[in-house]
Symmetry: C2
Subunit: 248 residues, 2 copies
């Protein structure tokens, strides 16, 4: 599970490291299968959380420190991991909702940050192409800082399936052309699917083929591009700004 997306899919479970995720799991009543503890170096915060899990009847296992470190996604963590069941999500059918769609993004840290940014911007559905890194890897989960638990996550979605799944206009963040994000009007109306491509490659042809509107961020000429997490933050929060300021 620590190393393999296949194991996570087969077991329908993953590892969440650290006090913050453990705390979030408690608050949101996530199904926790086991608590793993590092033999040496459990801090007070982690010890307090352990007690809460034991009170709930969750089994705890103490791992040799070398073993714990080998499976932990971070180097100097809290000495506590939980094994959690993945939520079951049904594929929607023309669901009217806002979506962030990730096309070919392979870095687990980026995946987690993108989920976090989407949820913070009010977008709770996130879908990813078959080429993307796994949403539920321990590294992505760690970078998501709990946002995974507030999101509906759809993996293995091809661009040509987006219209079937969601009832929303499809917007492409595309540094290579289209309209200026700030000058173009009305794209925030109704529901949207914001598509973000991988660094270097950008959006795939398949993604561009289903696009309703291409938008670019007008960046300074001294810089070639933004990193995908920064670009998503800019687009999703411009959407949020427009909706919040129009409402008021």
């Amino acid at each position: 599970m620590a190393q393999s997306a296949r194991a996570i899919r087969a077991e329908r479970a993953t590892l969440a490291e650290g006090a913050h995720l453990a705390q979030t799991a408690l608050e949101r009543d996530i199904k926790v299968q086991a608590v793993l503890l590092r033999a040496k170096g459990l801090n007070n915060e982690a010890a307090a959380l352990l007690e809460k899990f034991l009170q709930k009847g969750v089994q705890a296992f103490v791992l040799d420190s070398l073993l714990f470190d080998a499976i932990s996604p971070v180097e100097h963590g809290a000495g506590l991991m939980i094994e959690i069941s993945l939520p079951t999500v049904q594929r929607p059918r023309a669901m009217p909702t806002d979506v962030l769609y990730l096309d070919g993004i392979q870095d687990p840290g980026n995946i987690g940050t993108l989920i976090r940014t989407a949820v913070a911007s009010g977008v709770h559905s996130i879908a990813s192409s078959p080429e993307c890194a796994h949403f539920w890897s321990p590294k992505a989960l760690r970078a998501g800082m709990g946002a995974h638990f507030a999101a509906a996550l759809y993996e293995n979605v091809k661009p040509q399936e987006l219209r079937e799944l969601f009832d929303a206009r499809i917007l492409a963040a595309d540094a290579r052309g289209g309209s200026d994000l700030y000058l173009s009007e009305g794209w925030e109306a109704g529901h949207t699917v914001w598509m973000m491509g991988s660094e270097g490659q950008g959006l795939s042809q398949a993604a561009l083929a289903v696009t309703d509107e291409r938008l670019y961020i007008p960046i300074d000429h001294d810089c070639e591009s933004l990193n995908v997490s920064a670009a998503a933050a800019v687009c999703l929060f411009e959407q949020r700004r427009r909706r919040l300021t129009q409402k008021r």
Copy 2:
């Protein structure tokens, strides 16, 4: 140099990995002291760049692959690194300019991304507190994707020195309070210093003490906070949006 910020400061030089940074160094006429090549696995793009450096009279060294991998900031890179001199920057005195100020941010990848995002937003001066990770570490340089070369970078700046150095209003990105970023008017006028704090800690007391205006990003209640790079992207691009749309 690969491992130690002290060595980078002492030598006034650092290592830049990959074809993109090498290409940028050539375009911007950065002083390159040496080219380092991996004994095995130089790709065509890197080979073409090597030729250009050799034509300019730069010395090249071939490193054993194990040694190269040990000092490279990425795992599967292009097999090419360059050693570059750090630019000399004078401390400014009440300079009227836009600034991003980083307070206690320790992850080198975040540091690089923040520099890239600032330059993309039109903010070319970046300053950091003594607690921050080094701007010029190979990892930060790699994450900056060339933005370092388009920026004026000031390290070891205490919050209480900001007014001496820059003639600009000081804005604090503070999740704990202040005014709504989108509803507050006029903060983008003139020049600004945008201060960003570390994840978890937020801005230090010293930073809050020099603040002219505190602003928060109105995030969804399902999420506690944004990662610092995403928060900076939102604030700096809201500044850019306001300035671009007012001009037109």
